[in-house]
Amino acid sequence: MTEIAVPTGQVGAAAAAVEARGAAMTFNAGRPNEVIALAPIDLTVAPGELVSLIGPSGCGKSTLLRLIANLLEPTDGSLLINGKPASQARLDGDYGMAFQQAGLFDWRTVSRNIELPLEIKGWDRARRRARALEMLELVRLCDFADHHPWELSGGMQQRVAIARALSFEPKLLLMDEPFGALDEMTREHMQTELGRIRAATGAAVIFVTHSIPEAVFLSDRVAVMSARPGHIEAVIDVALGERTELTRGDPLFFKHVTEVREALRAGHGVGGGMEDR
């Protein structure tokens, strides 16, 4: 269990984007197939901060993300999103989500995909369309508003998914290995894009990944997780300043990569299961 302090300057200025207090998850509690997916977790994410969750398969990083998203109810502890209970935050549209699969609806055009959450939240047609076009501008896909998802490349689809997640201006973006299915070149491009989008929207991000360099490149802090039961092993501050393509060659960048890798090894003896890219 690791306590992560909120930077003192932020307290009182705004509620933390995420505040987990002893949040734990046990599947099939009391039955023979009981699995403790997450030991009690304490985690605070400041507004506008990007925190990566990294760890081997089965360390509960996706479970933690689903607890924050209120797609799962914690079996113990509490979760506050923007100072509200997670269930209320979900209904209020306080966060947007993106997954490894873009999850676009192929019977809808790109623009209508982005409009879907707005439809559910009861926006009128003209306002939805206007917002969708704004979001497409943000992810640089203006020319594709009326295309269908299957006409787009994987990276473009993922950008649409991010645009959709941000369409209702949530203060928090939850991402579950969103670039995991992309090729290396596209992946690096998307990482840079995410940095730019984040600067434009000011949203806090929780980013689940398997890739150490990706976590280091994107994050303000990297939470290294271990399995059996899932818990946060260490939290590493990444002080790289503004990220550019040059950052990838920065000696400090490699120092942080090494730091994360060592924390992962400490967590479960070997560095197995992690991607070194």
Partner: protein, 256 residues
Amino acid sequence: MTRQRILAMFWPVLFGAVFLGLWETFVVTRDIKPYLLPKPSAIWGQFHGNFTLIRKSTRVTATNAFIGLFLGVAGGALVALVANRFRLLRELVMPLAISVAAVPIIVLVAIFNNLFSITSEVPRRLMVTLIVFFVVFLNVSKGLTQSDPTQLELMRSYGASQSTIIRKVRVPNALAYLFIALRQVAPLAVVTAFVSEYFGGTQNGLGARITQSIASSRDAAGWAYVLAACILGLVFFGVAIAIECVVAPRRSRRLS
């Protein structure tokens, strides 16, 4: 039509032409008796000469097939939708639907014939409805339950209600499966309507005319009716594909 599409059609058309030519030559040179195998030219002659009667009989079979198809598709889709909401109904209909696929239920027509008046077209239409119903029911049920888990999670993250999820995710997804079913049941409806005529009732459809022609040794005429039945089946299939292309062009690419 583009050059490519003409080229794509070239080989099948050539094959058909060569096949008919060989058939004609074979019958003529080997002096095959017409009751064994008539010449294509004789069949075409009969088709042309009997066109009014063929058209009338085709209309009877086509009407039966269409009404049954329409009711079966509508009923199958509707019941699948309701059964998706109510578990008990699903558990009642599903085993029936699966077993129907393994049993030659077409013989039920004989029983339907006894239930209705001798001049009624209802038994055939009912038979087509039944067969179409179960195929559509199975496919649409599958489409309703097999939604992308990512899409379902997204909908929950938006705080969408169950009925919104059904409307925005499950139904559009099931629509793709409905079109797959339609491609299958459109020709199947014709076959069922056609075969149903062999089990008695009014003798005015294509199936009945074939039996009559063969029985009175008018073999080429019998084959002309077979030709009409083939054309009818193809028309139904073609219309099903056309509807799919108009309503959902992208789905055919994704799933076929």
